[in-house]
């Protein structure tokens, strides 16, 4: 091995890796982040096409709270990274909605709107809903949760109106469930808080300024970031992780390795033996998405649509499964980035629509069939999405579409599983000493969640050497 030993090596320059890197560099560790892609951000990155910048992930930064709010996840995150709330330049949402045929529930960054909407639409469920809210308020986010409890089952104990159960599950599944047909109860509690009690915002200018801020901070603190440098293998001996081997054969030594590549993906890097013993292929994530972004010559508001995000479903039952066909257009998410209360309005009108997609079906297509399938999938998605919003096609200047294969190509997530494995590793431990999991497969998702994941695992295992 080379003699340049690092305190910590981090695999992946996504949200979790960057946040962990800043934490450790802040306390003078010698930290190296290795990223195989040529851009940072992972699932929350950006790219340029025909002179326009597109965000990959980011519909909404969840967990939004105003400046000065005490004890909230976003406040903790800012404090840990020594960032100011103002640095993020967050534009809050107007309002969003859960839309099923004939019933809508609006919500905003003020919980009272959601509460009153539920009371109005489901007058027989007021007490039940309030009991649920109280239960969630009291939920202890910091005690080790039981990961096998189904939110669907718990909700049925509280709420007797099936439609309300489905309507509550829809946005929470879409914004963070790695489990088919359901959400883990502890995730439900975290997500409910982050979507309804707190809320949505968008950094002015999208994800890039936030990423720039993180990259700059990491560099100022002396952290080292190497792009286009994939980790091929995790080097270990006698149950202890010693470092990593790069694609070109170089070995780098470290006291601690944090991996945001995912559980199965990380175990694969340790070799067949640990992979075979510790990866249950049933648990590799099955849920992936297809998203199309339309650039329009009008803003959504000019077309009569002022909702920020719509979680739609075209029947009374919400079916959150890997579809049997290329996509499942029956439900999805529509995001209009123009409908945040930004200081500087966006130049173009934007319309993004996401639905569930099946990785295997996309994988087996020939290149020509792939392009054709994209076109048809968008048509199908808009058939259901347009009635819940509007049809962006007459105003289209440009469009771009990404599929489960795109997610896999740019983030290395097996099967393009955006929310990772169905079983999370909340303690961040692996079978190897000094190797820990951060980000998606540790269990905290989304921009805010994955950053907190990187921070808390770095604090626990990498900051204070055992």
């Amino acid at each position: 091995m080379s003699n340049a030993r690092y305190d910590t090596i981090i695999i992946g320059a996504g949200m979790s890796g960057l946040a962990a890197g800043i934490r450790l560099a802040q306390y003078d560790q010698r930290v190296l982040i290795l990223e195989k892609h040529y851009l940072w951000g992972g699932l929350n990155s950006f790219y340029k096409r025909a002179g326009r910048r597109f965000d990959v992930g980011l519909h909404a930064l969840t967990n939004y709270v105003p400046k000065g709010t005490k004890g909230a996840p976003l406040s903790k995150l800012l404090r840990q990274l020594r960032l100011r709330h103002d640095d993020l330049e967050l534009a809050p949402q107007s309002y969003s909605e859960i839309a099923f045929p004939g019933t809508k529930l609006r919500f905003s960054n003020d919980f009272e709107l959601f509460r009153s909407e539920v009371h109005e639409r489901f007058p027989h469920q007021i007490e039940a809903f309030e009991r649920l809210v109280a239960e969630l308020d009291a939920y202890d986010m910091f005690s080790p949760p039981d990961t096998d409890i189904s939110a669907r089952e718990v909700l049925k104990d509280f709420i007797s109106e099936p439609l309300l159960v489905e309507m509550l599950l829809c946005p929470l599944c879409y914004y963070g469930s790695a489990r088919e047909g359901d959400v883990d109860w502890y995730q439900f509690a975290i997500l409910f808080k982050s979507l309804f009690n707190e809320g949505f915002a968008r950094p002015e200018g999208g994800i890039k300024p936030l990423l720039d801020l993180l990259i700059k901070r990491f560099a100022e603190l002396g952290g080292e970031l190497r792009m286009r440098t994939g980790v091929d293998a995790i080097v270990h001996k006698d149950g202890e992780c010693q470092g990593v081997r790069l694609a070109d054969g170089t070995e780098l030594e470290a006291n601690c390795v944090l991996s945001s590549a995912g559980w199965a993906e990380t175990m694969r890097m340790t070799g067949d033996e640990l992979y075979d013993t510790h990866v249950n292929e049933e648990e590799i994530g099955k849920l992936s998405f297809i998203e199309t972004i339309f650039v329009m010559d009008k803003t959504p508001a000019q077309l009569g649509h002022d909702t920020t995000i719509v979680f739609f479903n075209d029947s009374t039952e919400f079916d959150y499964q890997r579809p049997k066909t290329l996509i499942d257009p029956r439900s999805g998410v529509i995001c209009c980035p123009n409908n945040y209360q930004a200081k500087t309005p966006l130049k173009d009108g934007l319309y993004r629509v996401t639905t569930l997609a099946n990785y295997d079906r996309w994988k087996e297509l020939s290149p020509e069939a792939y392009s054709e399938a994209k076109l048809q999938s968008v048509e199908a998605a808009l058939q259901t999405a347009a009635p819940f919003s509007f049809d962006p096609r007459p105003h289209e200047i440009e469009r771009d579409c990404f599929t489960p294969l795109t997610v896999e190509r740019f983030t290395g997530k097996m099967a393009g599983a955006v929310y990772g494995a169905s079983r999370k590793r909340l303690d961040g431990r692996t079978p190897l000493e000094n190797l820990h999991i951060i980000g998606t497969d540790q269990g905290l998702l989304g921009v805010t969640g994955s950053m907190l994941s990187g921070i808390s695992i770095a604090n626990r295992y990498a900051l204070v050497p055992n």
Binding site: Y27, R79, Q80, R82, I455, S456, N459, L463
Partner: protein, 90 residues
């Protein structure tokens, strides 16, 4: 450092960690957690800053002694003997 300087040093560290908190009214005897918003992540940062600025190690079992400003002063007085106060947020 004197006791008073140690209390200044700790307050300066808290200012770095929690710039939005108002530290003017802090007393030395009540738990810090009761007076301002500090969680276990923040206490870890106090320990880390002490190590970074003054090279003092506080083992995890002893974090409890940092609960109050008086506690900090008692605990750190022998450890910081002969060291100069370093104010980052002057």
């Amino acid at each position: 450092m004197t006791r008073d300087e140690i209390i200044l040093a700790v307050k300066d560290i808290i200012t770095t960690i929690a710039p939005d908190e108002d530290l003017d009214g802090l007393n030395n005897t009540d738990p810090l957690r009761d007076q301002i918003e500090l969680d276990s992540m923040d206490f870890l940062d106090i320990v880390m800053e002490l190590r970074k600025r003054y090279g003092v190690q506080v083992p995890e079992e002893e974090y409890g002694v940092l609960n109050t400003l008086d506690g900090c002063a008692d605990y750190l007085l022998p450890k910081l003997e002969g060291q100069e106060l370093k104010m980052v947020n002057a």
